[in-house]
Amino acid sequence: MQILVIEDDARVAEHIGKGLKAAGHVVTQESDGRAGLLRAAADTFDLIIVDRMLPQVDGLTIVRTIRATGDATPILFLSALGEVDERVAGLRAGGDDYLTKPFAMSELLARVDVLARRGPAIVAETRLSVGDLDIDLLGQQVKRQGKPIDLTAREFRILVYLAQNEGRVVTRSMLLEHVWDYHFDPQTNIIDQHVSRLRQKVDKGYDTTLIHTVRGTGYMMRAGG
């Protein structure tokens, strides 16, 4: 994928560049807001990663300008300003996701993956299936090998989010943001416990596992593993 990274800190920019390249992406980097904006306007990218605080032109202005031209390229904010109201400001300006510094490379890659492949398909979907698991989004019913699985509303949402991102890593904070509508920092590994309860119902008693743990990062749903 073609990714534009606008980040003024050389060390962080290098780290991001390395990580993205290692994951197979083509990376273009700019270190100030004005150059970044010009580059975004001149070329076409699959994803733009932008720091909020930049010299010349700040990140919010860049995103507003890009969106004002009708460009719908997915944009990921990267910022040391991590408070909920700051995130809301970023998302309102037209950002698609928001990652707080410092961050783990695995988290950045997971978000990049999800953002870049987020197509219009999800909107129209009424059914999802992963391997022998079938999810009826309208009827809110889940079946595996034809046998219905009884899930709570929350477990259902977790499962749907994992299934929508089949084959991609979903981090704990991504789950928290998308499944729970609250923005907060859980004190304990409370998300893990929800996922493990879901696993009990979805995977226990079957030969193949659908929900996999990605060590140190999060989870991934994948058929036949």
């Binding site: 991590g82 408070e83 109201d85 609250y182 907060f184 920092d185 004190q187 304990t188």
Partner: protein, 454 residues
């Protein structure tokens, strides 16, 4: 050194109040004496003068009507008439010859109005001193008629006044000065006590308090108020000190571990060992970040920058969500969670922050209720306010620590080993304060009961 000291004394309020007091005292004494003099001396003299003027007029008319002989006869008769006041007169013709007189001397020039002169009478060989009030009439042929009456009693009073007032003013002034000094010293001592204490506190001795006299006067009241203030300041200074000590400790520990991990990593042999150390270092970094984030978050909430997110919050739903979020944790610990949440609880607030607060409290409840423990979550309205109660059946918190658990990094000694950053309740306290609510840590008998009132 003496000049500044003098100037300092002159500037001092008690000294100036003393001076003003002395001046006021003397002025009022003078006014009193003036009034007494007016009533006791001057007024009687005026009355006497009126009487003497009337007499002189009458005698002058005798001279005009009946001739000089009749006047002299009348004067003689007047002199001999016994009475309360002795009568004096002198009749001197135009050439200066005395025609009739019982006065030893009189002024050479004409007396205008009235005057007091010395009048000595000789009686049986002895001289009696009198003070006489005299008036003068010029008769038709240029003769001077001086008539008078003795006013010795009034004059005595006058003298008594003069002497006694001098003494009284002197004594009064001494008393006033002495009194003002004593008063000034008494007030000054109390003020000095306050000043001394304040200076000692400023010099770093936070435990100093202003001594009370025990009389409960307004100085005591002032000292009491100042002492309370000092107590509050000492408390907050102490808590800031404790917090910064704790911050230093809590941040240094993971930093030291991180440092150790990286150090070992440099010397590590084998991929497995490397991975283990890397994972460990990342975990320490994450822990540092979590502490840092929580501290920033608390500071940010305390500085009130979160008001922007205020909106109507459905607390009933929020509490249900929080319980649902924690239910796997509760089950994992084999605990029993009971809830009694009223319908339609709504409030103005920041839903993410309130959720964070409730989640932290539930987290604590699960952590301390222990295996197979019980947790109760209750919420209701009472007197227009929402009351949320979260109780666990754990060991509880000793009363001495109940206030301090809201402090950043404070941990009840018995639970020092438990996981967490020691910032959970501090964050709850900051969130509750932002919503102008009350946070109380109490006893669930047994266990801890946390009550939040919004």
């Amino acid at each position: 050194m003496s000049a500044p000291r003098w100037r300092r004394m002159a500037r001092s309020l008690t000294f100036r109040l003393g001076l003003i007091y002395v001046a006021l005292f003397l002025t009022s004494m003078l006014a009193l004496f003036g009034a007494a003099y007016w009533i006791g001396v001057y007024q009687p003299l005026l009355r006497e003068a009126d009487a003497v003027v009337a007499e002189a007029n009458k005698l002058a008319s005798v001279d005009g009507d009946e001739g000089r002989g009749a006047l002299i006869a009348a004067l003689d008769a007047r002199q001999r008439t016994p009475g309360h006041r002795h009568a004096f007169h002198a009749l001197v013709d135009a050439n200066g010859n005395t025609l009739s007189s019982n006065l030893p001397s009189w002024p050479d020039e004409a007396v205008r109005g009235w005057r007091l002169i010395e009048a000595d009478l000789y009686a049986s060989g002895e001289e009696i001193d009198y003070e006489a009030l005299v008036v003068e009439r010029r008769l038709g042929d240029g003769a001077r008629l001086i008539v008078g009456r003795d006013v010795e009693d009034i004059d005595d009073r006058d003298e008594l006044f003069a002497v006694s007032s001098a003494w009284l003013v002197l004594i009064g002034a001494l008393l006033a000065i002495g009194g003002s000094f004593a008063m000034g010293a008494a007030v000054g001592r109390r003020i000095d006590a306050v000043t001394r204490t304040a200076r000692r506190v400023m010099a770093g001795s936070m435990t100093e308090r202003i001594p009370l006299s025990g009389t409960g006067d307004d100085f005591d009241e002032l000292a009491d108020t100042l002492n309370l203030m000092l107590g509050r300041i000492e408390e907050s200074v102490e808590s800031v000190r404790r917090v910064s000590d704790n911050v230093a400790h809590e941040l240094r520990t993971p930093l030291a571990r991180l440092h150790a991990d990286l150090d070992e990593l440099r010397m590590a042999k084998g991929a497995k060992e490397r991975e283990r150390l890397t994972e460990q270092a990342i975990a320490e970094a994450a822990r540092l970040q979590a502490i840092f984030d929580a501290l920033l978050r608390i500071a940010r909430i305390e500085s009130g920058r979160h008001f922007a997110g205020f909106a109507r919050v459905d607390l009933t739903a929020l509490l249900a969500d929080a319980i649902e979020l924690h239910s796997p944790d509760v089950e994992a610990h084999g605990q029993l969670l009971e809830s009694a949440i009223a319908d339609g609880l709504e409030m103005e607030g920041d839903r993410n922050l309130i959720f964070q607060a409730v989640s932290n409290l539930l987290d604590n409840a699960v952590k301390y209720a222990g295996e197979g423990g019980r947790i109760l979550v209750a919420a209701s309205t009472k007197g227009g306010r929402i009351r949320i109660e979260i109780a666990d059946s754990g060991p509880g918190i000793a009363p001495a620590y109940r206030k301090r658990v809201k402090e950043r990094f404070f941990r009840v000694p018995e639970t020092a080993g438990a996981p967490g950053t020691g910032l959970g309740l501090a964050l709850v306290a900051a969130i509750v304060a932002l919503h102008k609510g009350m946070l109380e840590i109490g006893d669930a008998e047994p266990g801890t009961k946390v009550v939040v009132v919004f």
